[in-house]
């Protein structure tokens, strides 16, 4: 045990003595602080803008004049998407996800106005977030401080002496890995904890139990990632005869795992499981809708049967004799059918997207970067699942509200004045505001089952390498 402590202490001393390592730490620390500042400012400002306009939309809505309920459902309502609390740390798909969605009768609109839509291609080179620094730059730092840790001892012959003195290869690799890992963690996880503390001290209203749980998981995740990187560095260094070879090997690995493979995985997924365009999506829904029936066609089989059924139910011969307004009843039925079809097609589309993303999840078993990125996005609430969830919640709200207005139409509007009669505006105040039901950490992780499995795979792989491997180092 003592010798491992010695190895770690020597490792720390060596790193601290390296001037370039200190310069890199300074540069990364400035970058981290800068990106934290930008991230927090951006998030707070965006949310305050969105909240302001959300209130304005609601005021305009509540203060509208007396109107026909169907006019009100076409007047619509705009819902703004609140950015998740931890999106200052990890941007995830935030810049590619829309900010607001317009909810109206008969139509399911897309969530519009994303940052990417207003930007040029530079956004694709990555945005400087704290997460990006920890995901891509800190591994480079680890490679840099660790590439020579064993390879240099080999080339100057010290390793031979050490092994001859009776230190086992396993102890050496274990100690070196722990040394590099503990140093990196102390510096960067320390910095992250400090930034989180300051951020939540300045904005204490963000600090809920849920956010704390998510933060703790995120920090644990990044700590494990640094361990994986340290382990890879020491293993590569042990296999290389010279430090230079180890460094080239590690940098090529970094390019492959950090830039090329994740992009390829996503592109291949898109190639294998092609997704339909919006035009095809809408055409498919229209086609299915026409198979059911067309409410505008007076000879339509489905709607004539629906009418006959309604008349029979109330024992009358004409829609005028019904105890309610038939138009409202018909609109409710139409809304039910279109919504059902839309949801079925939307689920199909999401399944296609999930299949496209699955390639990157499977890649996580050989490449820790997509594993970390997927889990980090899930934990911070900036992944696709949270975005889809927002869309589904707004759609459920839209349907409920539209049906509420159709009910009003059915029971409180005279059949003779179906299109013109107005209801008192006080009736529209009964509308509930949209409240996004925030999801918990376990919900977030349950969407990343494959990636979570990859995390356990990596943990087991590293543990078993220390338990069964590293019998000797090739000199």
């Amino acid at each position: 045990m003592n010798s491992i402590k010695n190895i770690i202490a020597v490792e720390w001393k060596n790193i601290i003595r390296t001037k370039t390592a200190m310069v890199l730490i300074a540069v990364f620390a400035v970058l981290l602080l800068f990106s934290a500042f930008i991230g927090i400012e951006n998030k707070v400002e965006q949310n305050s803008i969105r909240q302001k306009y959300q209130e304005q939309v609601h005021d305009d809505y509540v203060n509208q004049p007396d109107r026909n309920p169907h006019r009100v459902s076409h007047y619509g309502y705009l819902v703004f998407r609140e950015r998740p609390a931890l999106s200052f740390f990890e941007f995830g798909i935030e810049s590619f996800a829309g900010n607001s969605v317009f909810l109206e009768a008969h139509r399911q609109n897309t969530v519009n106005l994303s940052e990417a839509g207003f930007s040029n291609g530079m956004l694709r080179f990555g945005e400087l977030s704290m997460a990006l620094i920890l995901q891509l730059l800190v591994p480079l730092f680890i490679f840099f401080i660790g590439y020579g840790t064993l390879a240099d001892l080999k080339s100057n012959g010290v390793l031979k002496i050490m092994l001859a003195q009776g230190i086992s290869a396993k102890k050496l690799i274990w100690g070196k890995t722990l040394g590099i890992f503990s140093f990196t963690t102390a510096v960067f996880i320390g910095a992250v904890l400090l930034i989180f503390t300051i951020a939540f001290a300045v904005y204490p209203e963000e600090l809920t139990t849920e956010v704390v749980m998510r933060s703790i998981f995120a920090v644990g995740l990044y700590t494990l990632y640094f361990f994986i990187c340290s382990w890879v560095t020491v293993v590569v260094s042990a296999k290389s005869s010279r430090g230079g070879t180890a460094l080239i090997c590690l940098i090529v690995l970094w390019m492959l795992c950090g830039i090329i493979l994740p992009k390829m995985a996503q592109n291949i997924g898109q190639g294998i499981y092609p997704a339909i365009s919006k035009l095809e999506f809408e055409t498919n829904i229209t086609e299915d809708l026409e198979k059911v029936g067309d409410s505008h066609n007076p000879d339509d089989v489905y709607y004539n049967r629906f009418k006959a059924k309604t008349l029979a139910e109330f024992g009358v011969n004409d829609v005028k004799d019904l105890p309610f307004n038939y138009v409202g009843h018909l609109m409710a039925e139409g809304e039910r059918i279109t919504t059902e079809l839309y949801r079925a097609h939307f689920d199909e589309l999401i399944t296609t997207y999930a299949k496209q993303n699955s390639i990157a999840s499977y890649l996580s078993f050989v490449n820790p970067y997509p594993m970390l990125r997927n889990l980090s996005m899930a934990v911070t609430g900036t992944d696709m699942a949270h975005y889809i969830d927002f869309q589904k919640q707004t759609e459920a709200y839209r349907y409920k509200q539209t049906q509420y207005f159709n009910e009003l139409h059915k029971h409180e509007i005279d059949a003779e004045h179906s299109g013109t009669q107005r209801l008192d505006k006080s009736r529209f105040k009964e509308r509930e505001t949209f409240q996004y039901n925030k999801r918990g950490l376990f919900w977030a992780l349950s969407n990343q089952f494959t990636t979570l499995f990859a995390l356990f795979f990596w943990a087991i792989l590293m543990m078993s390498s220390f338990a069964f491997g590293f019998k000797k180092i090739k000199l």
């Binding site: 829309g98 519009n112 990417a116 090329i260 992009k263 898109q270 190639g271 919006k278």
Partner: protein, 159 residues
């Protein structure tokens, strides 16, 4: 032809061409390049296919709405959408650029003029985040990386 420059060039070229690492690097980048061409072409072809269907869809919708609302202009204009299209340029397959984020077809109607212009195309946000592996990515990112990784110690390794 026997100048110092030529000799240096010949030696350097031989070293470079015989180095298995540089050959491997070129094979990898070349393979990715072939895939990039395929991917760019595929993506743009899919967009073109969609654009080609627009005329038919427009025709069908017009016919249907004429049938139901020929005596009611307000209902006709309410239900009738007009489709626009943004054709890919000749070089779009080389660099897909923002064509995956921005609409290449937008449907508009007389109602709600401004808002409908910002409708987004349906796209997998994860794919948008990772970006397209098209030929321009190869030229802008991968080839410089290859050059750097093969040449970074050309002179310093002699020291």
């Amino acid at each position: 032809m026997n100048t110092t420059f030529y000799k240096l060039f010949a030696i350097e070229y031989k070293r470079f061409a015989r180095n298995p690492i540089s050959i491997l690097g070129f094979i990898v980048v070349f393979t990715i390049g072939v895939y990039a061409i395929f991917h760019g072409k595929n993506t743009i072809a899919h967009q073109e296919e969609t654009i080609d269907t627009i005329a038919d869809i427009q025709e069908q919708e017009l016919a249907k709405n004429k049938q139901f609302f020929s005596d009611d202009l307000s209902h006709f204009t309410y239900y009738q959408f007009y489709y626009t299209q943004n054709e890919p340029s000749e070089w779009a397959a080389f660099s897909i650029g923002q064509r995956d984020i921005n609409n290449y077809s937008l449907k508009v109607r007389i109602l709600a003029v401004e808002g409908q212009l910002y409708d987004t195309e349906l796209a997998n946000p994860m794919t948008l985040l990772s970006g397209n592996l098209d030929l321009s990515f190869l030229f802008v990112v991968l080839i410089p990386l290859l050059i750097i990784s093969l040449c970074f110690n050309l002179i310093s390794s002699r020291a």
